[in-house]
């Protein structure tokens, strides 16, 4: 099994404007050239233990932020 890298060359027809190539479907190209999203990165968070309290409920205890 091999992984393959293709050296391709776009033909001049690929550079024609949309108006000149009305019979073609650009939606697939537009869909495939969206910039992919990347996972959200959180801002650095500073931990201050006085901001939090343990809340208990039944079997559960969880560290939660104090309500302002």
């Amino acid at each position: 099994m091999t992984a393959t890298l293709f050296d391709i060359e776009w033909t001049k027809t690929s550079y024609l404007s949309k108006a000149n190539r009305s019979k073609f479907n650009y939606s697939l190209v537009e869909k495939s050239t969206f910039t992919l999203k990347t996972p959200h990165e959180h801002e650095p968070m500073h931990f201050d233990p006085t901001d939090f309290e343990i809340q208990r409920s039944g079997h559960w205890g969880a560290l939660t932020r104090k309500k302002a």
């Binding site: 293709f6 690929s14 479907n25 697939l28 992919l36």
Partner: protein
């Protein structure tokens, strides 16, 4: 990967489209209306992991990979819980694993080689693998340190075209992750913001009893995930035909625990139940985690009134370990390290082309698929 050297080859039949449209490849009508046209000037084939990594870094472009899809055989004890004997599955001797010691015979069932975690794997347990077709995917990166659920460390990050959900593409259920997850730039908790994978049993939270299960933990944990999946409903899709009535739609279920059953990738999953106001427990016979996705689904899969699903502009990435990739090598005789499982593979396309490359049409078809990465 096999030892055969990587090659760099001028494409034997350049695709010159200036004289008109090429014939539509079978199964690819989109090519007829695709406004992008190109010539393939050169093909670089990389046969070793080191060469693939170097090519990724050097070119900054994805590499195409045609993968032989296989079904890996899982061994189940032949008992009434699986309607065995008589469920139509081949009866075989059980593996030597101690968990099978009380069973006189087993049956095998072929499961997809892609888990709902998005990890491609090949089980090197000596059982015959069935070929389930082929698929073209892109290698977009690598991580030498990612360890898959089968204990294989190091491999390639893939961009796939499959839409995630309860089922699709011939798979019983489909899941994936972001590339940052496989690159270890996002951990499992943060990944739930990006790719919640509601259908994936790995996303379901365990709880010990009915009181704990009904306690709403959403928002309990600081900056917690946007959704925590607790209550499950029976959706039994019937895809696991030998498992009769594993659940009923008048009962509520919560995952209580899941326990490894042997080393074959099976788990015993137990559930807290509530039916008619009465609490109870039920355990299913050993199954794969992905099997559970065909039986249960979260009751509330909405957030802010919207159905939660993976955003394929962010998810849709898979991982294949170097070890699993090597097991798919159609030329095991050239690499003694792949003899664990490769001999069972028969890939007619490759066997007709000892060079390891398919013919030109196959290659072009792969290019076409890569141009429309979100079309299955």
């Amino acid at each position: 990967m096999r030892e055969r050297p990587s090659t760099e080859t001028p494409f034997p039949r350049p695709v010159d489209l200036s004289a008109g449209r090429r014939p539509t490849p079978p199964g690819c009508p989109a090519a007829q209306v695709n406004p992008l046209e190109f010539k393939i000037n050169r093909i670089h084939d990389y046969a070793t992991s080191a060469d693939i990594k170097a090519a990724l870094v050097r070119s900054g472009r994805p590499l195409a990979l045609g993968v032989t899809e296989t079904n890996s055989a899982f061994y189940f004890p032949c008992t009434a819980a699986y309607s065995c004997p008589g469920n139509g599955k081949p009866i075989v001797n059980c593996p030597n694993d101690p968990v099978y010691k009380d069973y006189s015979s087993c049956f095998t069932d072929g499961k997809s080689m892609v888990s709902m975690k998005g990890e491609w794997f090949v089980k090197a347990n000596g059982a015959p693998m069935g070929q389930a077709g082929g698929h073209a995917i892109n290698i977009v990166g690598y991580n030498d340190f990612h360890r898959d659920e089968w204990g294989n460390t190091g491999g390639f990050i893939l961009r796939n075209t499959w839409k995630d959900g309860k089922a699709g593409h011939g798979l019983m259920a489909v899941g994936s992750h972001s590339w940052k997850f496989f690159a270890h730039m996002v951990d499992e908790d943060d990944e739930k913001y990006s790719c919640p994978n509601p259908a994936n049993p790995r996303s379901w939270t365990e709880c010990a009893d009915l009181e704990a299960c009904k306690h709403d933990i959403d928002g309990d944990v600081l900056e917690g995930p946007p959704k925590t999946y607790r209550e499950l409903m029976c959706i039994n899709t019937g895809q696991i035909k030998y498992l009769k009535s594993p659940c009923d739609d008048k009962t509520s279920y919560w995952l209580k625990n899941r326990t490894d059953w042997g080393s074959e990738g099976l788990f015993v999953s137990c559930f807290v139940t509530e039916a008619g106001g009465k609490a109870g427990d039920v355990c299913l016979p050993p199954l794969t985690l992905d099997d559970l996705a065909t039986i249960f689904f979260p009751v509330d899969n909405t957030k802010d009134g919207k159905e939660i699903e993976n955003d394929m502009m962010q998810c849709g990435f898979n991982f294949i370990s170097c070890a699993s990739l090597a097991c798919l090598d159609p030329f095991p005789h050239t690499n003694p390290h792949t003899s664990c499982c490769a001999p069972q593979i028969h890939n007619p396309r490759h066997s007709q082309h000892p060079s390891g490359r398919g013919d030109g049409d196959a290659l072009r078809h792969r290019v076409d698929q890569n141009l429309v990465p979100l079309q299955g």
